[in-house]
């Protein structure tokens, strides 16, 4: 367990000293959302109507942006080889790196989301549920993304391939995430959507590290 935490700590340390990855994801998120009022016009009712979907799609793309680097640096400098030879199971390595990725890129998105919701004139009733869906949803994005990052390791133009592999798998998360907010705004209960989102997280938590670990073992061979 200490080894697991040391790996998470090391990755956070690296991300914070390099600085760029974390801030790029959240800046991309903000810019992406800010573009919409320019595109669809400043009509408050229209913006309020599309706010949930826009914020969720932007969050999805922002999380995808930094995923390519998830294993890339460790793969290129030989660290991944050494990690695979350590007594820490490969699944734990994946989980630790994914957790660090989420803390660095997912959490800032959750913090920024309510501000953007104000910008898009979303009804204040939806703010709580927006944060809640992102809190459950963004870890799923990181987990599913880790599979794509592991599979495209060493491939040329891995980033493009990664998007093509992963975006279709993000669709259920998007549907239930945006659906929960819409339900809450229309006076319905968001509970079923949240439960489905929770079940996706419960499924991804053991399955994604397992699949990524298998892909990484292939990559270091």
């Amino acid at each position: 367990m200490t080894r697991f935490l040391r790996l998470v700590g090391r990755d956070l340390h690296l991300a914070l000293r390099q600085g760029s990855d974390a801030s790029i994801a959240v800046m991309f998120f903000v810019l992406c959302v800010v573009l919409f009022p320019f595109g669809v016009g400043p009509e408050p009712n229209i913006l309020a109507r599309i706010a949930a979907g826009v914020i969720w799609v932007a969050a999805l793309l922002a999380s995808l942006l930094s995923l390519e680097r998830l294993f890339q640096n460790d793969y290129e400098d030989g660290s991944l080889e050494l990690l695979s030879l350590s007594t820490l199971p490969m699944e734990a390595v994946v989980l630790a790196k994914t957790l660090a990725h989420w803390l660095v890129t997912g959490v800032p998105l959750i913090v920024a989301a309510p501000l953007l919701a104000v910008l898009l004139n979303m009804n204040a009733e939806g703010f709580g549920i927006l944060v809640l869906t992102l809190l459950v949803g963004t870890p799923i994005l990181s987990l599913i993304g880790s599979i794509g990052a592991a599979l495209t390791l060493g491939a040329r133009r891995g980033g493009v391939l990664l998007s093509l592999l992963i975006l279709p798998l993000y669709i259920p998360v998007l549907i239930f995430g945006a659906g929960a907010i819409d339900a809450a705004l229309n006076g319905l209960t968001p509970r079923p959507h949240l439960l489905l989102l929770g079940s996706l997280l419960a499924g991804a938590l053991p399955l994604a590290p397992w699949a990524s670990a298998a892909a990484l073992r292939q990559a270091v061979e």
């Binding site: 080894r3 340390h13 000293r17 080889e81 050494l82 990690l83």
Partner: protein, 227 residues
């Protein structure tokens, strides 16, 4: 006493057979030097020994037990030094080293890391970020990893690349100490590293012979196999 041995190992890279029918044996305190021209499979054999690469045929055993039956146990007793130095540019030398020492199971990783850097003659780089280290310093840092946490078997792939003479001499002493304490070493090299009593393994002896070769050549190779 534990013995690390491989029998009838065959390695396939892509669609090329690198070596076939290879046997080796390392006993405590012994060193095995892998020799052979470029592409003869020295690195592949070390990766097979480490468990990074699965052999097509044959098996590795530790003390008579197949390594495939206890992969976790095997990983805990090896140190592998490959061509890549695994040095993070934004972490200082001692932070880099302490992380690997923690994963290797050292009780006090930071103290071990400082001691290991001292031992390799580079205590002054302890607080220097990885990106400012020279190739030779990075290599010393990578080699310091093997003494920062204990492991019985060292697998070293061309450890002397980028090292100066003084560093090679230091490293020879470190290997001698490790062997005196019952440790095992397998090393591939193009440079002479002084290792008294080391056993040589010529990998070109195990290079597969293409099918269209004549029969005498074939027997020749098999004769060397047995020896």
């Amino acid at each position: 006493m534990p013995v690390f041995a491989g029998t009838e190992l065959t390695c396939l890279r892509g669609d090329r057979l690198v070596f076939t029918g290879l046997d080796f044996r390392i006993e405590p305190g012994e060193a095995l030097v892998l020799l052979g021209p470029n592409g003869s499979g020295k690195s592949s054999l070390l990766r097979v020994m480490a468990g990074l690469l699965k052999p097509l045929r044959g098996q590795l055993s530790w003390d008579g037990v197949a390594v495939t039956e206890d992969p976790d146990g095997h990983r805990s007793r090896i140190h592998y030094v490959g061509h890549l130095d695994a040095v993070k540019p934004v972490l200082s030398a001692v932070e880099n080293l302490a992380f690997w020492a923690t994963l290797g199971g050292a009780a006090d990783p930071r103290a071990n890391a400082h001691a290991a850097l001292d031992r390799l003659g580079v205590p002054h780089i302890a607080n220097v970020p990885g990106r400012y280290l020279s190739a030779g310093q990075k290599r010393r840092l990578n080699l310091a990893r093997v003494i920062a946490a204990p492991a019985a078997l060292w697998l070293l792939d061309e450890p002397t690349v980028a090292l100066d003479r003084a560093a090679i001499a230091l490293f020879e002493e470190i290997i001698a100490e490790h062997r005196a304490g019952g440790g095992m070493v397998a090393v591939s090299t193009h440079v002479d590293i002084a290792m008294p009593g080391a056993r040589d393994l010529h990998l070109d002896d195990f290079t597969p012979v293409p099918h269209d070769e004549d029969e005498t050549e074939h027997e020749d190779v098999e004769g060397e196999d047995a020896a």
